[in-house]
């Protein structure tokens, strides 16, 4: 079941779209902002609300990388691993985070505090290496900056 607030958020996306179906990608992201991720039940509710079959919507949900089909941590750290960030040390930053969090990129800590992801070029290459902490872009990253991120600076937590 979608909440009144979630339905209102989807309605806003539908108003910006040419067809109801066309709103499905932003609609999934809108609901994800409330729930953190898209469970099977959530997917079915959104599909019903948009007049799609669950299979149609699953086709979308599994294609787009920022729609999470598994629970993620309250803080999602997405490290750019493309071209310029790579050449300026993103792999060692990823290793540092993997070591500190005791996981591999793509995984979530047992306490659901952090998820670590690799992400494609974030378009901030003149401030490489860079990453995103939830919705906040962080530039010129080094290990000291990573320590501050792990200490909870930079971003309000997700649901």
């Amino acid at each position: 079941m979608l909440t009144v607030e979630e339905k209102a958020d989807i309605d806003r996306e539908v108003a910006e779209s040419y067809t109801r179906h066309a709103a499905c990608i932003p609609a999934l992201r809108a609901v994800q902002r409330h729930r953190g991720w898209i469970s099977r039940e959530t997917l079915e509710s959104v599909a019903a609300y948009l007049g799609m079959t669950p299979a149609e919507l699953e086709n979308i949900a599994t294609f787009y990388s920022l729609i999470f089909r598994h629970p993620v941590g309250r803080t999602v750290i997405a490290v750019c691993d493309s071209l310029v960030c790579w050449s300026l040390g993103s792999e060692s930053l990823l290793q540092y985070l993997e070591h500190k969090l005791g996981l591999r990129a793509g995984e979530t800590t047992a306490d659901k505090a952090f998820t670590l992801l690799r992400i494609a070029c974030l378009g901030d290459c003149d401030h490489a290496p860079c990453l995103m902490v939830n919705d906040v872009q962080v530039r010129n990253v080094n290990e000291a900056v990573l320590d501050r991120i792990l200490a909870g600076e930079f971003s309000p937590e997700r649901p």
């Binding site: 086709n59 990388s65 300026l88 974030l122 872009q137």
Partner: protein, 426 residues
Amino acid sequence: MEPVLTKNMHPGRGPLNLREYEQAGGYAALRKAIEIGPEATLQLVLDADLRGRGGAGYPAGKKWAALPPYEQSPTPRLIFVNADEMEPGTYKDRFLMEGDPHQLIEGTILAAFACRAALGWIFVRAEYVDPLRILDTALAEAGAAGYLGQNILGSGWDFELHLHSSAGRYMCGEALALLNAMEGSRAIPRSKPPYAANVGAWGLPSIVNNVETFCCVPHIVRNGPEWFKGLGVAKDAGPKIYGISGRVVRPGSYELPIGTTLRELLEVAGGMLPGYEFRAALPGGASSMFMDARELDVPMDFESLKAINVYFGTGSVTVVDDHTCLVGMTHNLQQFFARESCGWCTPCREGLPWLVEILSRFERGIAVREDISLLEELTYQIHDRTFCTLALGAVVSIESGLAKFREEYERHIELGACPYQAGAAR
């Protein structure tokens, strides 16, 4: 060159609001266009030789002129701003959206007017949180001032412009895949023809252009095509937002005449950082060929680079210095392309992971001589055999790397290790 696209940008302050943009001459081009009509507006863009700034360089006016006759085709006509900037090494569209959002909005309205479009979307990648916020504010201002909506400036013409943010995937930046994503489907390419101008989103005539392309339009309409053509210093027309990244003194975005050479751009960026030397560069993002030091004086525009078999791409240069492994960088590029492949075409879906695997053998020091010919054979099999250009963009870095830096591949085999990781860099 006097700044054109960046003239309203001032370091240390945010973008101009609507009133400030108007005071700087903003929306005067729209008034002029409404006075001269859509056909004359389109003619100005055609005459200016404005080539699309998204990478392929197709002339924008020609694309718009390819729309079918208005009375004999379905309506509404649609216009899409491709702001799904995800080409590794590229950040010019972010720079333009954050720096002067009304310039993009005015350019989009002008294009829509020339194309007689009624509806448009700015398709911004979801990670661009700041550009989305800035554009949202600017669109509301433009709507309240009557530059968007019904009967714009008393012209009798209606145009709505919306903001759309997607959910990741590099493929959304491919024009026809972008239309699929807009329709709420997977971002996979379409076969061409039909082109979007005839059959675009929801079967309607559609135009897709890059942010920087639209940003040029108000200046063309205001100052004329001859002025615009006069800005280029080599074969193409206009200003260009060049980017430069890597180990240079001042990486960043620089507005320069199109046709500026790599040597000049390096000078503008203060040269290489102390202790580093220039070895190579990708001139236009991940999907372009490596240039070497012998090509430093070639003008960087679509035509001049094509003459040396290099794609200009986005004009966002990534410099390879003498401490960075070119094979390792190519391996990283292939990882990006393999991950972002939408899986629609077999050579891309199946071929790119094999390129990653072979290149990783070089990096791990277990490559053999035959791996070089295997790379050559596989890139030949992938080159130009897919619906879109993702896979083509992927293999050109290997092809050009093997042509210009073959000894670096061979050195990995001879040493049985990556010479850069092993501390044996030349």
